[in-house]
Symmetry: C2
Subunit: 459 residues, 2 copies
């Protein structure tokens, strides 16, 4: 056997080089399974190495399983499977639309990199070494304390740090609640399909909770929907319709929960961005023993952080922590410490104030450019009505022809159904500052165009 | 009604101050449910505010649900539940032992804070804004690329970035695999009970896989344990016994998997720390289509990071990503980018080299101080044999009397059973540098003491 071993390069000494060369030869198939290797004496002489070096390399590769030692009969190449071909890329980014007005993401170009780095540096300077060890499944006390204060101050949430659980975003939080509560969750119809699937996989069933102009039909919870374990609501700004839950509906939800009906899960995903007055306080503040408050940094800083939080009624803290612990022990420490520093030092408030002004300008431009815009009191998206007798699909097709991507209500219903109203769900957070006016103008032209064609067809 | 409203302090203008004062009054119970508020005209005159200010504040608190507007009959305090009492602390840290020799954690005082901050700064300077948006459920491509190279170089893992999935630590990784594979997992007996519970909650059953001096009895997989969907192994350094999986047993595992028996999950939790020669290469390198490689930063940097990774056979990439997406979408971005920078810039190798030297010195001292120490070829813990006819409980009681905490094999068996051998599981990573020699001396004295007493009792 001529091994053709290349011992050059790679560093780590001659034994390491020999091991590497042998591994490569086995992996590439040049040394086939069953092939007998030269004795250590022969190979050492061939390569000009000490016999002990070759012997040590053989031992190592036997330990790693590349070679087999056959006692008196020498060393042979072990049989093994071929190297795996690379897996095909599963996430193929679709060709990005020229103008993206789909909802869901905030403007991540505003992520405060410098402030985040400063907060991280300060936080790690102050953190004990135990911050890098296994920690409390609730999350870092620094962040839970900062959040309890912040949420009380800005959202009217009644929180103590002991009742706050830091999660890896809202998706994990919702999954944990489904795992813990089971039964059936009433979920707004329309709502995000991903959230329904997360609840299902957590082990709970789904009952659709209709939404009208006053928000989710919480009045049905004590009636047609009696028996559900939880109702997941977006009271500050319904996703995707955009309405604010009316006071009577807020009351109906907490009354139902207080009467022993079940738990309210308040998904406060964009409650920080309210434009017409101060943010509407969280429902949780009205009934902290019946409402789970769920918030996150996904709309305020960026979803890439995967940082969320639950404020829980006391009886749920233990079960949720048990589920969290068996899910991922706890959420990563360093981002938690950085966010705690940012919140406690009010850098978070400053960032939100700047974002709110930016988003408000964008919302105002949306309202000024298009007709029939609703759901504009808060958040990063609004609902745009369709011209008479024009389908969502037709508008989206026409929009795509102009390089525009928009959302539509049809993406969010629990089940397709004839009576559902149509509408475009327009996210105004993400387009680049320079292209946003053009995007709105184009959308306006598209809507005008399909309306004209519709009218001429009817006329 | 005299409201006793304190409008001082807090900032945000007079309306904000009035709203805050009203909220406080309702929350504290000073304004009871059903109480009628003064008209806006009367309260405005009392407080010296414009009537519009009072009216706006009432509107806001109606929207938040603290007050109810009763049309012609004025504004009343809405009924609501009492503020929740703080939940009791659920994680009560037990009084820390003076000398902690329990296994599980690395020496987190070595966490390279300065290098981590540098890596974070560099990574965020280079990252596109999209890094802060929703991302690929696999994790950042920068980290997957760096890991594929690193694992190939140091652990003999055959990885391409497309087959790497970044997880929130090993616990999440194991749970995802149990969810995807189902069936029954063969798990080493003894092993960590938390891992068994994570597999169970993921939806798979557990079959005990005995461990002897050659490591896990993988020879049983094709026999007594036929039918299991996966075998979870710690080939580099069995936890907690400390043996390295023998070449024949490595072969038995991959042969079983290759013959269609099932999947091998290789938990390489401390494979980087090998003392007697180069690290034994990963089993995955022998059969990349049959072995899932699982690694993490928990022992190399710190478990607080909650960063782990799987290298998957191609057929499992899609199902695992689907489970990951519904678990938490993806792992947080910033730590991933920082770790990628640290690995690609070889700061990770430098840190590991320093840690390896430190841990080797500690291991050498352990071997030099105590008798009957095994499982010392790798990792951060070793097994210490018990004197004849002395139980683990007796040694632990005696040790506790000297301020010493140690692990024992009895913590890790699937089920209590008479035939199980006893032994102490001694973690040598965590004690402070200054107290480690004293801790070992005390443990030696304890073992000597219980042996003496045992002998005199028998004599």
């Amino acid at each position: 056997v001529d091994l053709h071993l290349d011992l050059g390069g790679g560093g780590g000494g001659r034994r390491a080089a020999l091991e590497r060369a042998l591994r490569d030869a086995v992996r590439s198939g040049r040394l086939a399974a069953g092939a007998r290797l030269p004795s250590t004496r022969v190979l050492a002489a061939e390569l000009g190495l000490a016999r002990g070096t070759v012997s040590a390399a053989y031992d190592q590769l036997v330990a790693e399983g590349y070679l087999s030692a056959r006692g008196g009969s020498g060393t042979v190449v072990a049989s093994r499977s071929q190297p795996a071909a690379p897996a095909p890329a599963l996430v193929r980014p679709a060709a990005a639309p020229r103008y993206d007005l789909r909802p869901g993401s905030p403007d991540v170009t505003t992520f405060p990199v410098a402030a985040w780095l400063r907060a991280t540096r300060r936080a790690l300077a102050a953190a004990p070494a135990s911050a890098y060890d296994y920690g409390d499944p609730r999350g870092r006390v620094e962040l839970r304390t900062a959040l309890a204060d912040y949420l009380g101050r800005t959202r009217g949430v009644l929180a103590s740090p002991e009742r706050v659980v830091v999660t890896s975003g809202y998706v994990q939080a919702l999954g944990l609640l489904a795992t813990v509560l089971g039964g059936t969750f009433a979920m707004e119809d329309p709502c995000l399909g991903l959230h329904r699937e997360v609840v299902r996989r957590g082990g709970a069933g789904i009952a659709p909770l209709p939404v009208d102009r006053a928000g989710a039909r919480t009045d049905l919870l004590a009636g047609a929907l009696a028996g559900v374990t939880a109702a997941v609501l977006t009271p500050a700004h319904q996703f995707p319709i955009g309405v604010t839950l009316a006071p009577a509906r807020r009351r109906a939800a907490t009354d139902w929960a207080r009467a022993g009906g079940g738990l309210v899960v308040e998904d406060d995903y964009d409650g920080e961005f309210r434009y017409d007055r101060q943010p509407v306080g969280a429902l949780q503040g009205m009934a902290p023993d019946q409402v789970v408050y769920a918030g996150s940094a996904s709309k305020t800083l960026g979803p890439g952080l995967r940082l969320g939080w639950l404020v829980l009624p006391e009886r749920l803290v233990g079960p949720v922590l048990d589920a969290k612990r068996h899910s991922d022990l706890h959420t990563g420490t360093i981002d938690q410490l950085a966010l705690a520093e940012l919140v406690a030092g009010h850098g978070y408030d400053r960032h939100l104030r700047a974002c709110r002004q930016r988003y408000r300008r964008r919302r105002d431009r949306l309202v000024g450019t298009l007709a029939a815009v609703t759901g504009i009191a808060a958040g990063l998206h609004a609902l745009v009505g369709l011209p008479d007798a024009v389908s969502e699909a037709r508008v989206r097709d026409a929009a795509a022809g102009h390089g525009l991507a928009v959302g539509a209500l049809g993406d969010y219903w629990h089940a397709a159904q004839a009576g559902h109203p149509g509408g475009l769900v327009v996210g105004f957070g993400t387009p680049a500052e320079g292209s946003y006016p053009a995007a709105l103008d184009r959308l306006g032209a598209v809507l005008h165009g399909v309306a004209e064609r519709g009218a001429s067809r009817r006329g």
